[in-house]
């Protein structure tokens, strides 16, 4: 029975010109977007890898200089995107790609590529995620908007019911047909990318789990949309109304809800301006963490404690260069201040994320979007992860330089110079992406919301079928 229903539905799709064209055009757009995205990823990877190497060379070739000068000269670290960003480049355009690591300052990531582009760039690009998240849902609408309503309009619904077949089965057959197109395109996407990688040796076992994660996430999203479209088709009884209603849902899901959530998130939990942020950091640096223990007071205390510890009465008599030691302690103090302020920023970001999760009540697109970016390691939390790792490296790097000054020179010996051996002894910055388990844990709420959407829409469709 089911196979007859599926066969008839597929035949009708095949015979309908606009569906054939829509499917062909979508496939072409998807293929083009995959190629473009792959090329873009490859060239960016090359550029950043090269830049990292040059930067490392510059660091190593500083020649002889005071370690603290080297700490001020600093170094740049560059973010390398995962191959998964080919499917979903996420927020890459809107986050900085390089961080300057220097003494005394934790800098934010620089060179946001969107900052060098006009308003046209804000319209978006043809990337695989654009097709998967925005265009395939339209294809689902095209396939399903009149799936049930045309049976009313042609008078065939009564005929079907008199054949003694259950409406649940009929609906399931229609559901499978609509759903299968979206899955076919998803499979096409992932297989194409894996093939591209296999030709260029990008294939890695670690990322396979992530591809599987994509393969679980997107079908749930499509299943929710198929449920909604078929429900609308069944309830509206007129194809034109069904089409308009389905499109309205698409607009609310994909644009209205996310933009409204963005505006509300910024309204209720605004970020401080860069100036306010730096002023707060400066104030804490001057007045001490939370207004207590300003550094000059702490420095005095440190001096007394150190002299007492080593049983000497003058800094010159210490077995190390106290200036270097004090600079390191000062550095640790500053790092704590930065940690506090960046944590506050993170907590604002978290509260903003909460608004987006609330908006997910109105749109299954939002949790899918966030989960997809999470799996591709192109979301905000991944950027924080990179930034935190860079900060950790900066602290270690500056510590190594300060301690070299402390251990290898004497107090007030500002002519001390270290050489390339020291610079090269500091290991290269290596960054490992977040584990998929970490990501899935972070995306728990989004996954739960999607699950709820799926459950509710499926139940509603099932109940509606029985009442037809």
């Amino acid at each position: 029975m089911l196979k007859f229903i599926i066969y008839k539905e597929l035949k009708e799709y095949y015979l309908e010109g606009k569906i054939r064209w829509a499917a062909i055009i979508t496939t072409l757009l998807l293929f083009t977007s995959i190629l473009i995205s792959y090329q873009s990823h490859k060239s960016q990877l090359l550029a950043h890898t090269e830049a990292s190497e040059i930067e490392r060379r510059l660091w190593g070739d500083q020649g002889e200089k005071n370690p603290h000068s080297a700490a001020h000269y600093g170094t740049y670290v560059f973010k390398l995107n995962t191959p998964l960003s080919i499917i979903d480049p996420g927020l890459n355009k809107y986050v900085g790609v390089s961080i300057f690591l220097e003494a005394h300052n934790r800098n934010t990531a620089e060179h946001v590529s969107a900052a060098d582009q006009s308003g046209l760039s804000r319209f978006g690009e043809l990337t695989p995620d654009f097709i998967l998240l925005y265009i395939i849902p339209l294809l689902i609408i095209l396939l399903g908007y009149n799936s049930v309503s045309r049976e009313y309009e042609h008078g065939t619904l009564k005929l079907i019911k008199t054949q003694g077949v259950s409406m649940v089965k009929v609906m399931f057959g229609k559901w499978i047909c609509v759903f299968s197109f979206s899955i076919a395109l998803l499979v096409f996407t992932i297989v194409s990318i894996l093939l591209l990688f296999s030709f260029s040796n990008h294939y890695t076992a670690v990322e396979i789990e992530s591809y599987i994660a994509f393969f679980v996430l997107y079908p749930i999203y499509y299943a929710i949309l198929v449920n909604i479209v078929l429900l609308i088709s069944g309830l509206s009884k007129h194809s034109s109304r069904s089409l308009v209603a389905s499109l309205l849902f698409w607009i609310v899901f994909c644009f209205g809800a996310p933009k409204a959530a963005s505006s509300l998130a910024n309204s209720y939990y605004p970020y401080p301006s860069k100036h306010q942020f730096h002023e707060s950091v400066l104030t804490d640096k001057k007045q001490g963490l939370d207004g207590h223990n300003p550094w000059n007071t702490e420095a005095k205390k440190l001096e007394e404690e150190t002299l007492a510890k080593y049983g000497v009465d003058s800094l010159h008599k210490l077995p190390f260069n106290y200036a270097g030691y004090r600079m390191q302690k000062g550095e640790e103090h500053e790092a704590k201040i930065y940690s506090k302020h960046y944590s506050e920023l993170k907590s604002i970001a978290k509260k903003q994320e909460y608004i987006y999760q609330m908006a997910s009540i109105f749109s299954p697109f939002i949790p899918t979007r966030f989960s997809s970016m999470g799996i591709a390691r192109t979301d905000y939390s991944h950027h924080w992860h990179f930034s935190d790792k860079a900060e950790k490296y900066r602290i270690e790097m500056v510590k190594a330089l300060n301690m070299d000054l402390a251990e290898n020179s004497s107090f007030n010996e500002w002519t001390y110079k270290a050489g390339n051996t020291l610079w090269e002894s500091i290991p290269k910055f290596r960054y490992n992406y977040q584990d998929l388990n970490e990501i899935l844990e972070h995306q728990q709420t989004n996954i739960l919301i999607l699950g709820l959407w799926f459950f509710l829409t499926t139940c509603t469709l099932f109940i509606a079928c029985r009442k037809v």
């Binding site: 046209l120 804000r122 319209f123 690009e125 043809l126 970020y271 306010q276 979301d379």
Partner: protein, 471 residues
């Protein structure tokens, strides 16, 4: 015929509940989007004001300290009254104030800051004007008025006009209409114009009421331009509806085609343009520019003394025979000047590539009325990339003037007094406008409209009534 069509359309509109609901939704969206824009502007102006207030209060504390010095009191930190400290620590502030209609399009204002400290310390050749923001917000964009008008308004127009002919056919009135002594193109154009009038009334009333509610209503050239380009955009979508209505399709197909045109116009074309630009005219490599800058910095770092010597040779007026003891800050200033000279070339070539890319993007935007409209809205709001580039240029020029003001004080050790404080250079923002953007939108979109309408009017004689009636 126009009068009777007008009466008929108004009667139909009055009894179409769905359109009433859509109109109310449009009003609410205009309200919400305007309030989003207003909030952003208020926050921007508050930030600028706060920084100016901070500067004022710092100056007040400096004056107090100057008075203390004059009265012979010993200051805890006497260097705070020195030219070097004032030029670097106090610095100045450059800012880009909002325009009267900045709230209509957030544009690039969510990426950039609108005020920046000017200091003699640090280099501004590679000036970073980006603001602290959540990239998720940047990605999704804001629900501002330009979004409502560019993305959502065409959907209202489509909902309102996709089935003028097809619905008539489906309800049997088309054959009655065609049995009257009239021209179908004229009849349809009357109905399209009347619906255009109704939509404009709904949209402009929503805008005017909200302008009054938000206390932003004032007659100005900007407001006129904004309304004019919005009207032309509405006209564009109605001309598309006019074109599709005269084709042999049923209501569902009309809705489908117009919606597809919406997808292509609002998403696909701009996306494809972006893809083309990014692939064939990619952004020059930041990383590469950074490497070149770092190399130059490293090179200059090694020759600070020589740089200072070179600088003084070029500026003999700064040599004071009585004082040749130049310290860190003098060397720093000399190096900064030299660094700026060398980096400017690197940055300039990078910016030239970006400019070339922008020009290509502008040319390709001619294919997309939505991209042109976004550009026009950003121009009126003062939130386009060009505005921020111009602001950056003004900041850098002021930065140069600021440093130059202090150079005699830094090198010749001229005394910095309380009176000098009142003569410090202050930043004045020079308004930046590009009327060409507005003209471009109007010319190109009116051309598109003209082509569509002219084509249909020309085809009138060959029009096949059979096809329209589905005979």
């Amino acid at each position: 015929m126009f009068k009777i069509n007008f009466k008929n359309e108004v009667q139909l509109f009055k009894r179409n509940r769905i359109l009433h609901i859509l109109s109310i939704i449009m009003f609410i969206m205009v309200f919400f989007s305007m309030s989003t824009g207003k909030e952003k502007i208020q926050s921007r102006n508050t930030d600028i004001q706060n920084e100016m207030e901070e500067l004022k209060s710092y100056d007040a504390s400096l004056i107090k300290k100057f008075k203390q010095k004059e009265s012979g009191e010993k200051l805890e930190k006497p260097w705070e009254l020195g030219a070097s400290y004032i030029s670097s620590y106090r610095g100045a502030v450059s800012y880009m104030p909002s325009k009267e209609l900045s709230f209509i399009a957030i544009g690039q204002s969510d990426i950039y800051t609108h005020q920046k400290k000017v200091s003699s310390y640090g280099t501004d050749v590679i000036l970073d004007l980006t603001e602290l923001s959540n990239p998720t917000q940047l990605y999704f964009g804001s629900f501002d008025l330009s979004f409502t008008l560019i993305y959502l308004l065409p959907l209202l127009i489509i909902a309102f006009s996709y089935n003028i002919v097809s619905e008539s056919r489906e309800n049997g009135t088309l054959s009655l209409v065609l049995s009257q002594p009239l021209n179908i193109t004229t009849w349809l154009s009357h109905r399209v114009c009347i619906r255009l009038f109704i939509i404009c009334t709904i949209v402009f009333t929503s805008i005017f009421i909200n302008l009054i509610v938000f206390n932003e209503f004032q007659f100005s050239l900007s407001l006129f331009c904004f309304l004019l380009i919005t009207f032309v955009y509405i006209l564009f979508w109605f001309s598309l509806s006019f074109f599709i209505n005269l084709k042999r399709y049923n209501s569902v197909m009309n809705a489908f085609i117009l919606f597809t045109i919406w997808i292509v116009t609002v998403f696909i074309i701009p996306n494809l343009i972006n893809n083309y630009i990014n692939n064939f005219h990619p952004l020059p490599s930041h990383a590469k520019m950074l490497n070149e800058i770092r190399l130059t910095q490293a090179k200059l770092d090694k020759v600070k003394d020589a740089t200072l010597q070179n600088f003084l040779e070029n500026h003999p007026e700064l040599i004071d025979e009585t004082n040749t003891d130049f310290g860190f800050f003098q060397k720093y200033v000399a190096s900064k000047k030299q660094l700026k000279k060398e980096l400017t070339q690197i940055v300039h070539s990078y910016e030239l590539l970006i400019e070339k890319r922008d020009k290509m993007a502008q040319m390709l935007s001619l294919l997309s009325p939505t991209a042109l409209l976004q550009e026009a809205y950003e121009e009126i709001a003062g939130t386009s990339l060009a505005h921020y580039k111009n602001y950056k240029k003004q900041h850098q020029e002021f930065s140069e003037a600021w440093l130059n003001f202090f150079i005699p004080y830094i090198f010749k050790q001229t005394t910095f007094t309380k009176e000098t404080l009142t003569h410090l250079p202050t930043f004045t923002y020079q308004t930046f406008s590009r009327w060409s953007v507005i003209y471009r939108f109007l010319t190109v979109v009116l051309l598109y409209i003209g082509v569509i309408v002219f084509y249909e009017v020309k085809r009138e004689k060959k029009r096949n009534i059979e096809e329209l009636l589905f005979i």
